[in-house]
Amino acid sequence: MTILDSPPITAASKIFNFPRNAWYVAAWDHEVTAKQPLARTIAGVPLALWRNSDGRAVALADACWHRLAPLSKGTVLGDEIQCPYHGLRYNSAGRCTSMPAQETINPSAIVPSYPVVERYRYVWVWVGDPDLADPAAVPDMHQMDSPDWAGDGETIYAPCNYQLVLDNLMDLTHEEFVHSSSIGQDELSEAEFEVSHDDRHVTVTRWMRDIDAPPFWLKNMRDKFPGFSGKVDRWQIIHFEAPSTICIDVGVAKAGTGAPEGDRSQGVNGFVMNTITPETARTSHYFWAFMRNYRLESQTITTQLRQGVHGVFGEDEDMLAAQQRAIDANPDHEFYSLNIDAGGMWVRRILDRMLQAEGLPAAAAAK
C-alpha cells in the first residue's frame, strides 16, 4: 500500500463502523432464558439467545442451516433449540443433532455459535474471530454487581449510530442544554476539563467547585444528608473503555470538604454505567444503569434513581434520533469539532485503530 491508496483520515466519519473483534453486551442476564429464545442483532449479526439446561447462555446465528428460518422463533428443548419450520435441532455448539426424514445428519449442518461471557449482570457476545475472544477483555463494569454498590438500569433502543451515543457521553457540556431541568447548569461549560488516554481507555475529568447543586444532585444529597443545603463541589470523571463502554463517576460533596483531593465522605457518589452495542450502522442497543454507593438498602432510592435517569436519558434519546435524521438528510455536510470534543475524538481514534487492525474502513457502508 502506498501513501496514495492508504485510507483518508476518517476520524470524523459520521456513520462510524464498529469493530467485530470485541465483546458487546447482547442482553441483560434476565432477558436470556431457557423458556424461549431471544432475537437480537449484535454488531450486524442476528442472534438467537437462550440458556441450556446448565443455565449457560448460548448465542447461535439466528438462521437455520437448512432454509434460514429464524431459530429465535423456535423452541428451547433442554440442551437444544428446535427450528420452528422443519424441526431441525441444534446443540449449544451450533451442531445439528436431528434432521427430519433421514437416518444421518449432514456433516455440514452447523450454525455459528458465538463465544458468550456472563459478567456484570449482562450477557456479552463476541461476533468476530472466535480465536481472539479472551474473556479477560470484557470491559470493567464491576460496580454492576459489587456488594459496595446498588442500583438498576434499562435498555434504550437508540435509532442512531453507536458513535453518536459515545460522543454524547464523552462530553457532558450538553447537560446544560439537554438536561436543564435535572442535572444541567451553566458551570458545566465554564469548568475546565482534562483528557487522558492509553490504547484502550480515555478519561475525561471535570471538577466544578463551590457551586449550587442542580435538582437531581440536591435530592441525592438530601437522601444521605437529610435537610442538606449549601454549595457543593461536583465531579464528572468519564471512563471510556474500548470499544463502547463508558462508566461515569459522578457526584457532589459539601463544598470545601476535600472531595477533589480524594475525601468524598461528605458527598454522594454514583456511577452512570453505559455500554452501547451497535445493532446496525444506524441503530444501537444502549444499556445503562445508575449505581450508587450510599443507602444501599433503599429500594425506594434505586427506583427513584432509575426513573430519574430514565427521564434524563429520554431527552438524550430524542436528541440522538433527531441528530441521526439530520445527518442522513444532509449527506454532503461534514462534522466539525469543538474543543469539548477532545474525549470523543480520542475514542474515535482508538476505534479507528481497532477497525484498521481488522482491515475494516472507519466509515460504515451506506444503508
Binding site: 442451516w65 444421518t104 449432514n106 455459528p112 455459535s113 463465544p115 472466535p130 480465536d131 475472544a133
Partner: protein, 338 residues
C-alpha cells in the same frame, strides 16, 4: 466461526507450486477478491477435464495475508476423477476459476478437548485447525495416519510445530492406527462428553471411527468430519448404469462420477451438494452386478448394506475385492429413474 456456504466465483492466479510429499503437490493461489479462509474452509475449482467442466473441492491448508495467498495440497490419485492430474499440471501464472472460501467444516469453540484425525491427504483440512488450537492454548491431539511416510504431506512440519501433541501412524512401519484404541481412550477420559473430534480421510477410516464413536455412546454431534466423496471401498473403475425406464445404458469412466456421466448423456437428474451429503440425488437401485461402493455420508450403514438406493453424485459400481483386473465385464447397476 461464520459458516459460509455462499458460493461466488472469481479467478485465482497460481503463484507458487512445489512438491509436499510423494504424489502431493502444493498449489498457492492468489484470488481476485481475497477473503481470509478460516480453518476448515475449502475452495471449489471449476476445472476443464477432457472437454467437461467439473467442480472439485480442495481444503485450504493455509490462508495468509488476509486470504491473498491460499495454499492447497493436492494428491495425485491414479484412480481419481481427473481433477488431481489437472491440478498437478498447474504452473505459476496459470489462472483457475475458483470460489471464495466455503465453510462447511468449522472448528468449534469451547470444547474441553479436541482430537483431529487425518488420514492421508485429509491432513490438508486439519493443518489450519491445529494451528488455531495451538494459538488458543486449547487441549488438542493431532492424529496423522498414512500408508508410507514418504506420501504424508506436512508430516515433518506438523511434528515440529505441535511436538508431542502429534501421534503418527504409518502402515508400512507397522505402527497402524488402532481406531478402537483411539476412540476407547477418548471414551474413557473424564472429558469424553466434551471432546470434539474432527476427521478427514478415506471413507473406510471415517466409517470405522464413526462405528467406534457410536458404540462407545459418545455424543454424535461431537464427531465432525468432511468428505468430498472422493474415496471409497474400492478404487474407481469403469462401470455401466442401466436405466430401464429410459431404455438406455450409460458407461461411467473411472475419471467421471455417475452423476456427471448421466448429465453428459443428457439425462436430467436432480442434485445439490455433489459430495454425498444431502441425499437429493438419491435414487432407487433395481439390480446390481458386482458391488455398490456408496461413498456417501447421507445413507446410514444399514441403508447402504441393503443396496436399496444410492447417491448418484458419489456412488460407484465396482467388481469388488475378488475382481480380476482383466475381467471383460465391468460392474453394472440398474437404477429406477421415474
Amino acid at each position: 466461526m461464520a459458516v459460509n456456504t455462499q458460493t461466488w466465483w472469481q479467478q485465482g492466479r497460481v503463484v507458487e507450486t512445489s512438491d509436499l510429499a510423494e504424489g502431493v503437490r502444493r498449489v498457492v493461489l492468489a484470488p481476485d477478491r481475497p477473503v481470509h479462509a478460516a480453518p476448515g474452509t475449502h475452495v471449489d475449482l471449476r476445472l476443464d477435464l477432457a472437454g467437461h467442466v467439473r467442480k472439485r473441492s480442495y481444503s485450504v491448508v493455509r490462508s495468509e495475508d488476509g486470504g491473498r495467498r491460499l495454499t492447497l495440497g493436492v494428491q495425485l490419485a491414479p484412480s481419481s476423477r481427473g481433477g488431481s492430474r489437472h491440478m498437478h499440471g498447474l504452473a505459476p501464472g496459470d489462472v483457475v476459476e475458483m470460489t471464495g472460501p466455503v465453510q462447511s467444516f468449522p472448528l468449534g469453540v469451547g470444547a474441553d478437548r479436541y482430537v483431529l484425525v487425518a488420514g492421508g491427504i485429509g491432513v490438508t483440512a486439519l493443518v489450519a485447525m491445529a494451528d488455531a488450537l495451538r494459538r488458543r492454548g486449547a487441549d488438542y491431539t493431532l492424529v496423522l495416519a498414512g500408508r508410507r511416510r514418504a506420501v504424508m504431506a506436512y508430516l515433518g512440519e506438523l511434528v515440529e510445530v505441535h511436538g508431542d501433541r502429534v501421534r503418527v501412524f504409518v502402515d508400512d512401519e507397522d505402527v497402524r492406527l488402532d481406531v478402537a484404541e483411539l476412540v476407547g481412550e477418548i471414551a474413557g477420559s473424564p472429558a469424553a462428553a466434551r471432546t470434539e473430534m474432527y476427521m478427514c480421510g478415506p471413507i473406510r477410516l471415517m466409517d470405522a471411527i464413526r462405528r467406534a464413536w457410536v458404540s462407545h455412546e459418545l455424543p454424535e454431534p461431537n464427531l465432525r468430519f468432511e468428505t468430498f466423496g472422493s474415496s471409497g471401498a474400492w478404487a474407481a473403475e469403469d462401470f455401466v448404469v442401466h436405466l430401464p425406464q429410459l431404455d438406455r445404458s450409460v458407461r461411467v469412466g473411472k475419471d467421471s462420477s455417475m452423476l456427471d456421466a448421466l448429465e453428459d448423456a443428457g439425462v436430467d437428474v436432480m442434485w445439490d451438494c455433489r459430495k454425498g451429503e444431502c441425499g437429493i440425488c438419491q435414487v432407487k437401485v433395481l439390480d446390481v452386478s458386482g458391488r455398490i461402493d456408496h461413498r456417501d455420508v447421507f445413507l446410514s450403514q444399514q441403508q447402504k448394506e441393503t443396496y436399496a438406493s444410492l447417491c448418484l453424485c458419489v456412488a460407484r459400481a465396482a467388481r469388488g475385492d475378488s475382481a480380476d483386473a482383466d475381467a471383460a465385464e465391468p460392474a453394472a447397476v440398474t437404477l429406477h429413474l421415474p
